[in-house]
């Protein structure tokens, strides 16, 4: 397969290559946790049937049935693994969703409703997006976030990734760079074209994935992604892949780990970002920052903690667009190449 021959010298990627080697090594020497089990469709169906059976048994005993969910909203239950990222701790605290309480009866019913829909999807080997689920009965569900939360709860409850529930995200993501694959229907896709490719919703059907990329750059904003495309970034730093954040879900990683490249709070002073481009932290920002600093997994990450402490002290934040005030192509010409060449990530 021919890819773009442009790109920097091989020595440019020395730090990146070292980083990849260390990541692969850490995977091999990992804490010994069993890799996430790949669940078959029949296992998902049986899991759902077991839940239903328990409910019926409770009712037969004149006991109000309830569902037990891992408490995902308690940060004490979350840990960070280098090889995986954020995940629930073993034996985490749980919460009961009761059928006979006015506060939770509705949620109990909606969880059963979505479980029954998942059951049908898995049984018929068809797929639906989260949006599709919501639109089956918008009056019942109320809003999309209710559906999204319940799907996440079910994913935790059955201990399978969302894709095994045959529920897809409503993707609006874009991808470009050193990547080719064949979609489920046989379509061949080559992302090295000058225009970006939409990330397919159903990644389960993808095969023949081929890439030589040294790195995958996740870009938060579509506008910045477009700027990089316009600046021919994928070719200048080939081989690489760039992807928008909308197509990427942190809790369902398809790469072993992730690093934060920027714009870091420490970059603000180091690069002498113009002060009039900075944005004061809002009260909500401040509260969020305080909350993140208190999360157990953050205390084990000194570099993250340091950056957040700098931000708290500055009481300012900077958008990536602030770099355009230095020069319009500073991001693609100077900032990213330097960061990637000299390992400026945390």
């Amino acid at each position: 397969m021919a890819f773009a021959l442009m790109g920097p010298e091989a020595s440019f990627f020395r730090v990146l290559d070292q980083h990849r080697v260390s990541l692969i090594q850490s995977l091999k020497e990992g804490p010994g946790e069993a890799p996430r089990k790949e669940a078959s469709s029949s296992e998902v169906l049986v899991s759902i049937e077991n839940i239903i059976q328990d409910i019926v048994t409770s009712l037969a005993r004149n006991e109000a049935p309830f569902l037990t969910l891992d408490n995902r909203s308690n940060w004490e239950n979350i840990k960070f693994e280098d090889s995986v990222g954020l995940q629930m701790i073993p034996h985490c605290s749980t919460k009961k969703i009761k059928s006979d309480s006015a506060q939770s009866a509705q949620r109990f019913a909606l969880i059963l409703k979505i479980l029954s829909m998942i059951y049908k999807l898995v049984q018929s080997n068809t797929y639906a997006t989260k949006r599709d689920i919501y639109y089956t009965d918008i009056q019942l569900f109320g809003n999309q976030s209710v559906v999204d939360n319940i799907i996440n709860d079910i994913s935790c409850m059955l201990k399978v990734p969302r894709r095994y529930l045959h529920i897809l995200s409503t993707s609006k993501g874009l991808i470009a760079g050193n990547l080719s694959y064949i979609e489920e229907d046989g379509t061949k896709v080559n992302c090295t074209c000058s225009t970006a490719v939409a990330v397919p919703s159903n990644i389960q059907g993808i095969r023949n994935l081929a890439t030589d990329a040294k790195f995958l750059l996740i870009v938060e904003k579509d506008a910045t992604f477009q700027r990089l495309l316009d600046d021919n970034f994928c070719n200048k730093l080939s081989p690489c892949i760039i992807i928008t954040a909308m197509s990427f879900e942190a809790h369902n990683l398809t790469v072993p780990t992730i690093r934060w490249l920027g714009l870091l709070p420490s970059d603000i002073e180091r690069l002498n970002i113009p002060k009039d481009t900075l944005i004061p932290l809002t009260k909500r920002d401040q509260m969020k920052l305080d909350s993140i600093l208190k999360r157990p997994y953050v205390t084990c990450q000194p570099f993250w903690k340091k950056e957040m402490e700098i931000m708290a002290e500055l009481k300012m934040k900077a958008e990536i667009q602030a770099l355009t005030f230095i020069s319009s192509d500073y991001l693609s010409r100077v900032y990213l190449p330097n960061k990637l060449q000299f390992g400026g990530w945390i």
């Binding site: 239903i52 019926v56 009712l59 004149n62 006991e63 509705q106 909606l110 059963l112 409703k113 029954s116």
Partner: protein, 561 residues
């Protein structure tokens, strides 16, 4: 009519007490004792009008300032046109000291009346006393006597009954047995009190026409609302509001409308005058089916209420919305007692116009109070709706999985667990099972709910003491559905005090020819009595029943004692 005369005198007495009390403190509750006793002086054949003597005796802390001659003169003036004879034991100042250290006075009214008319008068007087007693909780109203050889005795204003202070010198008895029969409640333990929410007073503008008729001054209306019975102890119990009762009180906390009087206030014929029922998805219809024979406090206005949203489960408890409207003048008392008494009548004559003129103000004030009173009910209704709405969703989801499963063992197990033969029956049993779990939760396992034992006499006293200063948002007092037995348990000691307070008043006049001794003194006379008072209970029940039968039977008949 004698009843009217008696009630007007009672009003005059209370106005006097209020005037005297206001000079010391506007906020203090009235204290005192008032006795109305009716006796037949010369028993004759039932068909003939008989001669009856009604004795009104009263004892109050302010009595010492009463000048009997002036007092009697005032009463004579307000009873102009009355055909009966009014006497005072002595034209000289007559102020005896009873054991409680209170000064007391006595007035007699003599009339010739046919027994049925007298029985009707008795019911009217009784209702008037009961109505007045609930807003003057520290005044004891005794009503008794002998008619056609049958003794009757009743006391309103039992000691240590829970009360809340509403306005200047006006309180409200909060035991729910005044407003609702115990049998009207569910079978479970409930809170025994109502928890009135006091609204903001509104200043009513007096139309010029009314002002020209002599109705001057600043008139205020203050609403208070409560739900009866209180369901705070059972927040999951379904309940529906089935009726609304309106009680109107004028200055000095006196009932504005005479019991059994043809209703002078036409504003209340408009169901929506007081309250926007639609806000709570309710409809109201006037209810004129109010019987004087009822032992409960009778409202001035009554509405049937029903929900037009959905039908309620069969086991829903019924609740009544109680609305108390207190109308009063802002300024002080007129110099003359007769003038103050006259203002009451003048107010009633013109109140309809005044209420019409101020409809939006009145409705706003009432709405606010009722909204607060219904807040918890509303939340409970919403919670119930959420629970009920979740059941069909859960049932269909479970059925979808069971019916759609290709594992016959799973399907069979689920059906077998609920003893269903097919999926249709399975659906029905699922629904029933969910409903059962909700019902069980709302009924509340007695083991889980550690309700205190029915209050002993000591506890009742302590509770009563505290309740005199009870805040309007007072907490629920868990207890069994109020049965008169319980409220009378403390009366073993109280009875002696009752006897003591009776005797000085009775000694000033003729003693009753027959007595049943120191009988029970509960205001709710029906159905109470512990084992030790069962004999008295039976006799008492017979007498009360006889009173009602007498009235229904008319002249020439005599109920079996």
């Amino acid at each position: 009519m004698e009843a009217r005369a008696v009630c007007e005198i009672l009003k005059y007495v209370i106005i006097h007490w209020k005037k005297e009390a206001a000079e010391l403190s506007r906020k203090a509750l009235l204290e005192g004792e008032l006795l109305v006793s009716i006796e037949e002086s010369t028993p004759k054949h039932r068909a003939d009008p008989s001669h009856y003597v009604t004795t009104i005796a009263f004892a109050g802390s302010a009595c010492g300032d009463l000048v009997p001659k002036q007092f009697l003169k005032g009463i004579q003036s307000l009873l102009s046109g009355f055909s009966g004879k009014l006497t005072w034991p002595s034209e000289e100042a007559h102020c005896a000291q009873d054991l409680a250290g209170l000064a007391s006075f006595q007035i007699k009214i003599e009339v010739d009346e046919k027994p049925p008319t007298l029985m009707a008068d008795c019911l009217v007087i009784k209702q008037f006393l009961h109505r007045t007693s609930i807003v003057h909780p520290k005044v004891r109203f005794h009503f008794g006597g002998e008619v056609n050889g049958i003794l009757f005795k009743e006391t309103f204003g039992v000691e240590k009954e829970p009360v809340v202070k509403l306005l200047n010198g006006i309180g409200l008895l909060t035991s729910q047995h005044h407003y609702m029969r115990p049998g009207f409640l569910g079978a479970q333990q409930v809170c025994s009190r109502i928890h009135p929410v006091l609204g903001h007073p509104v200043l009513l503008s007096i139309p010029d026409e009314e002002a020209n008729m002599g109705l001057l001054g600043q008139l205020t209306l203050t609403p208070a609302a409560a739900l009866c019975p209180c369901h705070k102890l059972h927040p999951d119990q379904t309940s529906r509001i089935s009726a609304a009762f309106v009680f109107l009180y004028g200055p000095s906390g006196l009932p504005l409308i005479f019991p059994n009087q043809e209703h002078p206030l036409t504003v209340f014929k408009d169901n929506s005058y007081l309250f926007d029922w639609k806000k709570y998805h309710l409809r109201a219809a006037p209810n004129s089916n109010i019987s004087l024979e009822d032992d409960l406090v009778l409202p001035d206005v009554s509405y049937w209420i029903e929900s037009h949203e959905r039908s309620w489960p069969q086991d829903s408890d019924q609740q009544i919305l109680l609305l108390f409207l207190m109308v009063d003048f802002q300024g002080g008392f007129p110099a003359q007692l007769t003038e103050a008494w006259g203002l009451q009548s003048l107010l009633l004559t013109h109140l309809n116009s005044i209420l019409l003129e101020n409809q939006s103000l009145v409705q706003g004030a009432v709405q606010t109070a009722v909204d607060q009173a219904l807040e918890q009910h509303h939340r409970r209704v919403k919670a119930q709706q959420k629970l009920q709405a979740s059941i069909p969703v859960a049932v269909s989801s479970i059925l979808s999985v069971v019916a759609g499963s290709t594992r016959s063992s799973f399907r069979a197990l689920c059906l077998q667990t609920l003893q269903a033969v097919d999926t249709q029956e399975f659906r029905r049993r699922l629904h029933e099972a969910f409903q059962m779990t909700l019902h069980q939760r709302s009924m509340c396992d007695p083991k889980k709910q550690q309700l205190p034992e029915p209050s002993s006499s000591a506890e009742e006293r302590e509770e009563g003491d505290e309740s005199l200063d009870e805040a309007l948002a007072g907490s629920c007092c868990p207890g069994e559905a109020p049965r008169p037995k319980r409220s009378c348990q403390g009366e073993g000691v109280g009875r002696k005090a009752q006897a003591a307070s009776w005797l000085p008043l009775l000694s000033l006049g003729e003693a009753p020819q027959r007595s049943i001794g120191t009988g029970p003194t509960c205001s709710q006379a029906r159905g109470w009595g512990g084992p030790e008072t069962r004999g008295e209970d039976t006799l008492w029940l017979q007498e009360v029943s006889n009173l009602s039968e007498w009235l229904r039977a008319g002249p020439g008949s005599r109920p079996v004692p």
